[in-house]
């Protein structure tokens, strides 16, 4: 079943299934089922997106200002891209094409396939997102756990203060602030010798500022989350018992506290990871990164239907996979949780 549930026989309606005997087989069985579930999920996402897309005011050929295309040109464009057919027909054609992994031509980048545009822009997003995630996990959890262990100490206040600031200043402001300090001002102060590139993509130096910007809010969030759940765990009976039994501090903390406090953090980490690798429009715009987040927003605001649909499909698959992984991780962290 989805995710995690107990093996409590009282609710064992699913016992009618033949349950594989070994743990490995059961795991495989579970994964296959979840992967199959993606088909209806994606179908549903396509349908709703398709409907929403056509409900949104404005057509792909409306221009953001100035001289509009004439009716004749607009009609010709509709024919060229098949938009002259009835909507239900367009929908079926689209589904048929998607079944063959043909996602069509972008309206905006003329004569480029949507697949090509996506493959061009995703790597930048992935790089930055994955790097940011690599910072968020240890920093966020570490800061949170330490803050909780030393509640009301200086480090606790720093963690809370950082968490608050990180969330009250929007990304784009943090980004431009970093640019002003480490790029523009550093350039002026050092006479042009030492400064970070303000934006762009290609060299390693380009990654520093956007990764920091991207990581601030999630790190703050995870730190607060980890602090809160660690405080909860510290009050649990088994931890008190462990302390009372005189177990070594490190052992208690690693074996009991950290592990258990990770449980609520895990689902948040999943959401954050999914968000990071599907791209942040703001960070990509502020740092001029040719990523998928920006191209998606441009697609929506220019009503580039095939780009919108394909990106949404990509996102829904990514999210479904991330959620599956998270659910699998639950079974590792919390042995009481079993897959059914």
């Amino acid at each position: 079943m989805a995710a995690v549930t107990t093996g409590a026989p009282a609710r064992g309606a699913r016992l009618s299934f033949r349950i594989p005997r070994t743990r490995g087989a059961s795991l495989a069985f579970y994964i296959v089922r979840r992967v199959l579930w993606m088909v209806p999920v994606v179908l549903f996402v396509i349908t709703i997106t398709f409907v929403l897309m056509h409900l949104a005011p404005g057509s792909p050929w409306d221009r953001a200002g100035g001289r509009q295309l004439s009716q004749a040109v607009t009609d010709d464009l509709n024919v060229k891209y098949g938009l002259d057919k009835p909507l239900w027909n367009q929908f079926l054609i689209y589904l048929w094409n998607v079944a063959h992994f043909d996602f069509g031509l972008s309206y905006q980048y003329q004569n480029q396939t949507v697949t090509h545009v996506l493959l061009e822009s995703w790597p930048a997003t992935l790089t930055i997102g994955a790097l940011a995630f690599a910072f968020i996990v240890p920093l966020g959890i570490g800061l949170g756990v330490i803050a909780a262990l030393r509640q009301n100490s200086a480090i606790d206040y720093i963690a809370v203060g950082f968490g608050t600031l990180g969330a009250s200043v929007p990304n784009f402001v943090i980004g431009i602030f970093l640019i002003i300090v480490f790029s523009v001002e550093a350039y002026h102060l050092s006479g042009g010798n030492i400064f970070l590139p303000s934006g762009g993509f290609g060299w390693n130096e380009h990654l520093i500022l956007p990764v920091i910007t991207l990581a601030v809010l999630p790190t703050a969030y995870i730190a607060r989350m980890a602090r809160s759940s660690t405080l909860d765990v510290l009050r649990q009976d088994y931890v008190r018992t462990a302390w009372a039994k005189g177990l070594r501090q490190r052992l208690v903390i690693t074996r009991h506290v950290v592990k258990n406090s990770l449980i609520p953090v895990l689902s948040s980490l999943g959401s954050i990871f999914a968000l990071l690798i599907t791209g942040s429009v703001i960070v990509e715009t502020v740092f001029a990164i040719p990523g998928i987040g920006r191209s998606f927003v441009v697609a929506v605001s220019s009503r580039d239907y095939p780009m919108i649909l394909a990106t949404t499909i990509l996102f829904s698959v990514v999210i479904a996979i991330v959620n599956l992984v998270i659910d699998l991780l639950y079974t590792v962290i919390d042995p009481r949780v079993r897959l059914s």
Binding site: M1, A2, A3, V4, T5, T6, R11, A13, R14, W37, P40, V41, V45, I48, T49, L52, L55, A56, P57, V160, T164, L165, A167, S168, V169, P170, V173, I176, I180, A220, Y221, R224, M225, S228, S229, L231, D232, R235, Q236, N260, I263, P264, S267, S268, G270, S271, F296, V297, V300, S301, I308, T312, F315, I319, A320, N323, D334, R336, V337, S340
Partner: protein, 305 residues
């Protein structure tokens, strides 16, 4: 006055320890938590200032374009210039009055949307987590769908269908981010529900609703409060995005989100136009964070003496 109320409550506490005791006791502990009280005082002060600003300025001062300030030769937007305590923005409007007026709008949006998230998120999360099985699977796949959904497209359509209004703002924002909370609560419930006390309650035949309310809700409170606290600024910023789509607060009426967004454009020239609303949001958030921590500690049954 607070003392009088507590005295009263204390009496009731003896008569009905089970029902009122939890809340009475919680309030006692909350009051002793100095930081939480500071948070409460700050939030109250901000709320009062916002109400007062609305009564006093009635949107006159916040949108008044002081042309003296706009004489390009003497343009001075800095604080304390010509009686503008926090200075003026590029159109010569007093920033302090805009901040105070915007407080009402942004706080309402920040808080009400959290309520919407909580209602939807908790319902879905608790149901999925508690019942598990098919229910869980179905709900979580629905969450997958919702998550994959393009926010911007969704907002555009909501805006065009419902038109720009305060209701649109709540519907649009409220329907977007509840999924995070649903997943979070579900995860919490999954890890708690195998605990002895829950198993015990189940064994004694307690109804699911009772188990959820009595055990699961209080025990999963901590992370939920954190999530809600962080949700406040997110909603405030989202409102600014909405105004881009035509459904937010229509200018010249100020909101914090819009002030930050406009300030960003001229951050090189006038950094205060970003810094001030950001500071306002930070103070608000910190206050709610303090209150949240205080609430969690005081509601935690294990902390009861």
């Amino acid at each position: 006055m607070a003392a009088a109320v507590t005295d009263q409550l204390e009496e009731i506490d003896w008569e009905n320890p089970d029902q009122v005791g939890l809340w009475q006791d919680a309030w006692q502990r909350f009051r002793r938590n100095r930081i939480a009280v500071i948070g409460l005082v700050l939030v109250t002060a901000i709320a009062l200032a916002a109400i007062l600003a609305r009564l006093v300025f009635a949107l006159h001062l916040p949108i008044l374009q002081d042309y003296l300030q706009q004489d390009p030769a003497n343009a001075d937007l800095s604080p304390f210039h010509q009686g503008h305590i926090l200075g003026t923005d590029e159109l010569g409007r007093d920033i302090l009055s805009r901040l105070l007026y915007g407080a009402g709008i942004s706080l309402t949006i920040g808080l009400l949307t959290q309520l919407i998230y909580l209602v939807i998120g908790a319902t879905v999360g608790l149901t999925a987590g508690y019942f598990g099985g098919r229910v869980d699977n179905l709900l979580m796949r629905f969450v997958d769908v919702w998550y994959a959904f393009p926010d911007l497209l969704f907002l555009l359509v909501v805006v065009s269908v419902f038109g720009a209004s305060l209701l649109t703002i709540f519907v649009a924002i409220g329907l977007i981010y509840w999924v995070d909370l649903a997943r979070l609560i579900r995860g919490q419930v999954l890890s708690i529900k195998e605990k002895e006390y829950v198993e015990g309650a189940r064994a004694t035949g307690s109804s699911p609703l009772k188990i959820i309310l009595r055990h699961l809700v209080p025990n999963s409170l901590g992370p939920v409060i954190v999530a809600l606290t962080f949700g406040i600024p997110r909603a405030i910023f989202l409102e600014a995005t909405l105004s881009f789509l035509g459904a937010g607060i229509v200018p010249p009426t100020p909101s914090w989100g819009v002030m930050i967004q406009q300030g960003y454009e001229s951050i090189f020239a006038h950094p205060m136009e970003v810094a001030l609303p950001a500071a306002a949001i930070a103070i608000t958030m910190l206050s709610f964070g303090f209150i949240g921590d205080g609430l969690r500690d005081s509601l935690d049954p294990r902390m009861r003496r």
